[in-house]
């Protein structure tokens, strides 16, 4: 990844941050789908 100070948000400056976004999105999607499963029945 490019070094710090290239204008990217801090979370995108390290691979750990990028992985956190991918896994965080997965958790958010599962939560959203669980909510829909409960509401739309």
């Amino acid at each position: 990844m490019p070094p710090d100070g290239d204008g990217r948000p801090p979370i995108l400056r390290t691979w750990g941050g990028v992985y956190a976004i991918v896994l965080g999105t997965l958790i958010a999607l599962i939560a959203l789908f669980s909510y829909w499963s409960a509401v739309y029945k």
């Binding site: 990028v18 992985y19 991918v22 029945k41």
Partner: protein, 564 residues
């Protein structure tokens, strides 16, 4: 199909193939042909990875699956983003450091040649059979609904793919897949918008989804813990993770996609893009099926979705019963339609008690409708013995043919053919590369010229293409083959992944221990498949776990001091 549909279909396919081949002309080294030249950007890698996984079955079957069983299949993809992170963080850097052409090359350095070639053979076996199915699956559906000759359709799809794959190898495959994926995504988005436009004007999206949910189609996440339930949150997160790790980490048709990246960072971002986009994309495709289900609550669907087969039943000795069942179907639909209207009215009024009553009534009417559909299948089986009774694959394509406007129909057929071609092209390219790099070069011609391996790569691609088309022709003679091949990957992926995981993470295990562990694990997975009812996603966990456990044990025994 109208002339404008043919123009859109042929224009789309021809433009992609001709432009892609022209852009990647002049591939004249084995490195460029087999490995891709190492200069692709992350978006090309990401789209190419997605296009490799999206086969025609994705677009033909998934909407039908959501129509029949709801959105639960989406859980199968929950392990995928985790797998993309693990691969990006731990596995891809190893491949880059070793500058390998194929994933199996790594195994010779880590273990020995026999382990490398055993794993390559498992890949060739599973992917070679699957390539035949990726040609056959759309051909059988298109030949049934459009009257295209089956074998000619197989030959044309296979022939075009072989031609452009041979011309530019993995580079042209990645290039054409980028355009094919854009067509696929655009086509499905257009399909979703069109189906939405066909629903009653006063039906809101919320009420449409509530209607589908009343009949069980919106149960996306299943928290139950049952090994024989195919799709649950847990099987998705564990079995789905293992499938994705094995498929993206050890299947050369995927490894080849990201090894052609300009840098490690480009490859990683391409994989992570897949991790971010895959679940929403599959959600969209499944949701098209749910919207189709809602459409057919207001418009009478066929009693059997493979309409040509049902019509043939009218010309059999059971024609009287078939006609009477048609009349019964009309009646149960009319009754159900009344219940649907009652539910929508209750939802519009915002009356919870009336909504609950209407939901109960609708579920009862839907159960009667399902019973008539089951009886129709039984009747069809006795009227026309041997006919395929699974009609879910015809739900979406039947709707497309009956309702889509001129032009959009051609685009949707192009989506299906693009999917078939993209999956087949990466399979043939990987099969050719693996045959040259892992079997032919080390065993038969270790010291030949670069030009020799380039020519050999092209000939092996042609050979695998011919085998795939032949297998597709043969597949027409067998029953339930698509279902069998769907679990084929899971029969081999577990042991393949186990070999790689031992290689990456258990340093003390040597070649012979992992080789025999892989053979025994493969036998175990086949025994589990033959003798138990365990869901196929678990085969990956069992096969992988068996290799890791047995290889560690064998190494321990081999290392123990011998007492005389």
């Amino acid at each position: 199909m109208r002339p404008v549909d043919w123009a859109v279909l042929l224009g789309t396919i021809a433009a992609i193939v001709i432009y892609g081949t022209w852009k990647e002309r002049g591939v004249n080294t084995s490195e460029a042909y087999l490995r891709g030249g190492s200069d692709l950007k992350w978006y090309t890698i990401g789209l190419s990875i997605m296009a490799t996984q999206a086969s025609a079955i994705t677009f033909l079957s998934l909407p039908g699956q959501a129509y029949e069983d709801g959105m639960g299949f989406l859980q199968f993809y929950f392990g995928l983003p985790i797998a993309m992170v693990i691969l990006s963080a731990l596995i891809v850097p190893i491949y880059y450091r070793l500058k390998v052409y194929t994933a199996y090359e790594y195994l010779e350095g880590r273990f020995d040649r026999k382990t490398r070639q055993l794993t390559a053979l498992l890949f060739l076996l599973s992917r070679g059979l699957a390539a035949g199915i990726s040609i056959y699956a759309p051909s059988i559906v298109l030949s049934t609904v459009l009257g295209w000759p089956l074998q000619l359709t197989n030959l044309i799809i296979g022939g075009v793919v072989v031609l452009y794959t041979v011309s530019g190898g993995t580079r042209v495959v990645s290039r054409t897949q980028t355009y094919q994926m854009i067509v696929m995504l655009g086509g499905m988005a257009a399909a979703a918008v069109f189906i939405w436009s066909q629903l009653p004007r006063d039906l809101s999206l919320g009420h449409a989804v509530r209607l589908a949910g009343t009949l069980g189609k919106m149960k996306i996440v299943d928290y139950s813990v049952r090994a024989d339930t195919r799709y649950t949150l847990w099987s998705g997160l564990t079995g789905g993770l293992f499938v994705a790790l094995a498929y993206f980490g050890t299947d050369q048709s995927q490894v080849q996609r990201y090894l052609s990246g300009a840098s490690l960072a480009e490859s990683r971002i391409g994989l992570l893009m897949n991790g971010l986009v895959k679940i929403p994309m599959q959600f969209l495709i499944l949701f098209v099926g749910v919207m189709l289900f809602v459409f057919y609550q207001f418009n009478k669907p066929p009693v059997f979705f493979n309409v040509p087969e049902w019509q043939k039943a009218h010309a059999t000795a059971r024609a009287g019963e078939v006609r009477s069942l048609d009349a019964e179907w009309d009646a149960v639909f009319a009754a159900k339609r009344g219940r649907v209207d009652a539910l929508v009215t209750a939802l519009d009024r915002g009356d919870p008690a009336a909504t609950a009553r209407a939901q109960t009534d609708l579920r009862a009417a839907a159960a009667r409708s399902d019973t008539v559909r089951r009886r129709a299948k039984k009747l069809l089986a006795s009227a026309r013995p041997g006919v395929e009774l699974k009609d879910a694959d015809y739900i979406f394509i039947g709707f497309v043919l009956a309702h889509f406007p001129a032009g959009l129909l051609g685009l949707l057929i192009a989506v299906i053919l693009c999917a078939s071609m993209s999956a087949t092209a990466s399979a043939l390219s990987a099969l050719g590369s693996t045959t040259v790099v892992d079997l032919y070069r080390p065993t038969f011609r270790p010291e030949a010229s670069d030009h020799h391996y380039l020519v050999a790569g092209r000939w092996f691609t042609v050979l695998w293409g011919a085998l795939a088309v032949s297998f597709a022709a043969f597949a027409a003679l067998l029953d339930n083959l698509i279902q069998a091949v769907n679990i084929l990957g899971s029969l081999f992926y577990g042991p393949m992944l186990g070999v790689f995981l031992v290689g990456f993470f258990i340093r003390r295990v040597r070649g012979s221990a992992v080789f025999w562990a892989a053979l025994l694990a493969e036998a175990l997975v086949i025994a589990v498949f033959a003798l138990t009812s365990i869901g196929f996603l678990w085969y990956n966990v069992i096969g992988c776990g068996a290799v890791v456990g047995l290889a560690s044990l064998f190494q321990l025994l081999a290392a123990a001091p011998k007492k005389l």
